[in-house]
């Protein structure tokens, strides 16, 4: 890819703005793209991710819906059946649950049900995760439900560049994509970097879905920090925590590699496996519950594929197996730098 890449910016913008730009550019590039959900019209969404889209493209392209998530999802499915490419917003993670039947029973299965004759190019944007002081139902990490449902792609950006390029790729995908937005990163600023957007920061995996506009592949992890001693595997909101832990770990003598998964489905086994075979140790990090969580699957895959290279069992640093805590207690629940470094320290370093 060259500097003519869509979306590259010279000034730092918040992640929410990068998403907004991706929507705007996708709507400009393809009139089949429509955006709808609760408060996404005039207001521009409660996180302002759809800011200005109704003004720019009109009410037929970006519109408010009744307050009903199953209805939003079902409407998106019907519109996709007719050739549109809907991008819908679930206002908060836990408010997507009324839509789960539509997602599980229809969105994920229609292509398979019809032997490929009725694909559903729908993007479901889900602001997720904690760390913003949200009261109950505003901080869930619901990715595990989607990851366990064949037929869905599940992606989550951790950087401003990825927010842009992954959303463009998701909208271009002919399969349904659950686009998990780490809401505590909405205000984190960076440039949309043409280099990062082109995928050159990515690992060795090859994803099946390539965005035409940006060259971004869905299904490709990125090595965010090179290291030799252990691999920290993270995604979405915990990538930044992992990078901070790696910095702190350097002071303690650990040279830590950080893999940002970016896509949970398809999963980039190649990049993860290559990293762990190199380092011989792995810690998987996410906010969601550990038991039955996505990290359990990742740890199992790493163990199966890297057993003879591993110097220690794969460890997980996750949220506790509890309902998401109230804001005054959430700091105990969320994976922290200290907790990650404690896990790293437990990885059987006796032979060093």
């Amino acid at each position: 890819m060259t500097a003519t890449l869509d979306g590259a910016t010279n000034t730092a913008i918040p992640l929410a703005k990068a998403l907004n730009q991706a929507l705007r550019d996708a709507m400009g590039a393809d009139e089949r793209v429509v955006v709808f959900g609760e408060d996404v019209g005039v207001l521009g969404g409660v996180f302002r991710v759809t800011d200005g889209l109704t003004r720019e493209f009109g009410e037929n392209r970006c519109f408010d819906t009744p307050l009903a998530e199953a209805g939003i999802m079902g409407t998106a499915i019907g519109m996709a059946m007719y050739g549109f490419r809907p991008v819908v917003e679930m206002q908060f993670d836990a408010f997507s649950y009324p839509a789960l039947e539509q997602i599980f029973s229809h969105l994920a299965k229609m292509r398979n049900r019809t032997r490929g004759q009725l694909p559903l190019p729908v993007v479901v944007r889900v602001p997720y995760g904690g760390g913003i002081g949200g009261v109950e139902h505003h901080s869930d990490s619901s990715e595990g439900y989607f990851v366990a449902t064949p037929g869905l792609h599940v992606v989550t950006p951790a950087t401003v560049s990825d927010a842009y390029t992954l959303l463009r790729a998701a909208i271009e995908s002919d399969d349904p994509v659950i686009f998990m937005e780490p809401k505590r990163l909405y205000w984190s600023k960076d440039t949309i970097d043409a280099l990062a957007a082109s995928g050159s920061a990515a690992g060795s995996g090859t994803g099946p879905v390539t965005g035409q506009a940006t060259g971004q592949r869905i299904g490709q992890a990125a090595v965010r920090r090179q290291g030799t001693d252990a691999t920290l595997i993270a995604y979405g909101p915990t990538v930044q925590t992992a990078l901070e832990a790696a910095e702190a770990g350097a002071a303690e003598g650990y040279d830590l590699e950080v893999v940002d998964l970016r896509s949970l489905v398809p999963f980039d086994d190649a990049t993860v496996t290559a990293s762990v075979r190199k380092t011989g140790r792995a810690v998987v990090i996410h906010e969601a519950v550990g038991f039955g969580g996505t990290g359990a699957e990742i740890a199992a895959r790493v163990s199966e594929r890297c057993f003879h290279w591993l110097q220690a069992p794969v460890r997980r640093v996750t949220g506790f197996d509890i309902p998401y805590p109230p804001p005054k207690l959430e700091r105990h629940h969320l994976p922290s730098v200290d907790r990650i470094l404690d896990a790293v320290a437990s990885l059987q370093w006796e032979d060093r």
Binding site: V34, N60, T65, P66, A68, A70, G71, M73, G74, T75, A76, I77, G78, M79, A80, M81, Y82, G83, F84, P98, E101, Q102, S105, H106, K109, M110, R111, N112, R113, T114, R115, G116, Q117, L118, P119, P150, G151, H153, S173, D174, D175, P208, V209, G219, V265, P266, F267, D269, A270
Partner: protein
């Protein structure tokens, strides 16, 4: 020929009229004896004799399809078949009132409507035969895959209708559901979305009085399901669901309203599920045979036939021709469904995504290796057996 009346003209702004739906007696043209109903109103609807005969013929064929499918479950050729015997006026009247360019959304009980649309009978029964989940191309037939989760197809119809409206097309979307389905949240959300966006949608409720074993009185306390339309600000009508002329008329009128940009319509068609829920169900556990007898004399096919005979429109030749067409269809079903369907294990992985994920490719290869090993074992057993046989024969 002028035989029929339109429903009311109340000036309420709703051609199907609030007074129609607040009066829970269903709109009817033919009474249970096949005579013109006393409910006839002033304005007349013209249906050509040719149309009436085509409708009757489709009902003869649809019923034969249904009976044959039920038989084939008993023979083990279908996994299950939810019969719509006695609901042909709904299944056929609604479809014949639509244009081929309109979409419709069938449930598991709507195979007869799919055959009426022209879908191949074996492709229609793919789901219930069990060789795949849907056997026809939905885009080609403008027919969504049958849905089993209740009322979930309602929001799809609302969305497709909205899409057609935004695209500037005059396409209408009709969603079937049953009385039980009206209790689902998705039913509510579908009607509300369609009304808010004034989408060209028709929600056609076949109120057949039962959701498996649960009677209508346990689904709703409302005097009529059609009354729900009032709450959404949409037109609604209650129609005799065993009167195919009435059904055709209300669906045609709802479709025309939708095409004129006047939004969605809720139709409640009052009918009866003559058979058990499926072959696996025992209706004697929850309803009395006398109830079935009451509905038998209200049979939609017999009713139309009586009327056509009395009007001098139905000839013995036409009856013979329709019966022959129905028997031909049944014979074709017996022949084609009698054979074991061809299935391909590679399809398990082929359609999940546009391109299989690396993980699915691995799993497909693993299954292939398993099957190859099984085949190798089977070949070895065969070869050992033939060795033993030739040994014994020596």
């Amino acid at each position: 020929m002028t035989v029929l009346a339109t429903p009311d003209k109340t000036g309420s702004g709703f051609p199907l009229g609030f007074d129609t739906i607040l009066d829970p007696s269903p709109l009817q043209y033919l009474d249970e004896h096949g005579a013109l109903s006393g409910a006839l109103r002033d304005d007349a609807l013209e249906l050509e004799p040719k149309e009436l005969l085509a409708t009757w013929r489709a009902m003869v064929i649809g019923r034969r399809f249904d009976v044959q499918a039920t038989t084939m479950v008993r023979q083990g050729r279908l996994a299950v078949y939810p019969s719509s015997f006695g609901q042909e006026a709904c299944e056929i009247g609604a479809i014949l009132a639509l244009r081929p360019t309109d979409w419709f959304f069938p449930t598991y009980r709507d195979c007869v409507s799919m055959v009426t649309r022209g879908i191949d009978p074996v492709q229609t029964l793919t789901l219930l035969r069990g060789d795949w989940h849907c056997g026809y191309d939905p885009q080609q037939w403008r027919t969504a895959p049958q849905t089993t989760p209740l009322a979930t197809q309602g929001p799809h119809a609302a969305g497709l209708a909205l899409a057609a409206k935004l695209a500037g097309d005059d396409t209408v979307a009709l969603a079937f559901c049953g009385d039980g389905g009206t209790s689902e949240g998705d039913f509510h959300e579908a009607l509300n979305f369609a009304a808010v966006y004034q989408a060209p949608a028709i929600f056609f409720v076949q109120n057949n009085q039962y959701a498996i074993s649960v009677p209508l009185a346990k689904q709703t306390h409302a005097a009529a399901l059609a009354h729900k339309a009032v709450g959404y600000g949409m037109a609604g009508v209650r129609v005799d669901g065993n009167d195919v002329i009435a059904v055709r008329h209300v669906v045609a009128e709802a479709a025309e309203r939708a095409r004129r940009g006047q939004g969605p319509t809720l139709i409640e068609a009052v009918t009866y599920r003559m058979q058990a829920h499926t072959n696996a169900d025992d209706a004697s556990r929850y309803r009395d045979e006398s109830e079935v007898e009451y509905w038998k004399v209200r049979d939609p096919l017999a009713r139309l036939e009586t009327y056509l005979r009395a009007a001098g429109l139905l000839t013995d030749e036409a009856v013979a021709e329709a019966n022959q067409a129905a028997e031909d269809l049944a014979a074709e079903m017996r022949a084609r469904l009698g054979e074991e369907p061809e299935v391909d294990h590679r399809e398990l992985f082929a359609h999940v995504y546009a391109e299989p994920t690396p993980q699915l490719l691995e799993q497909a290869a693993a299954l292939q290796a398993e099957l190859d090993a099984e085949q190798l074992d089977a070949d070895q057993v065969d070869s050992a057996q033939s060795d033993a046989e030739s040994e014994a024969g020596r």
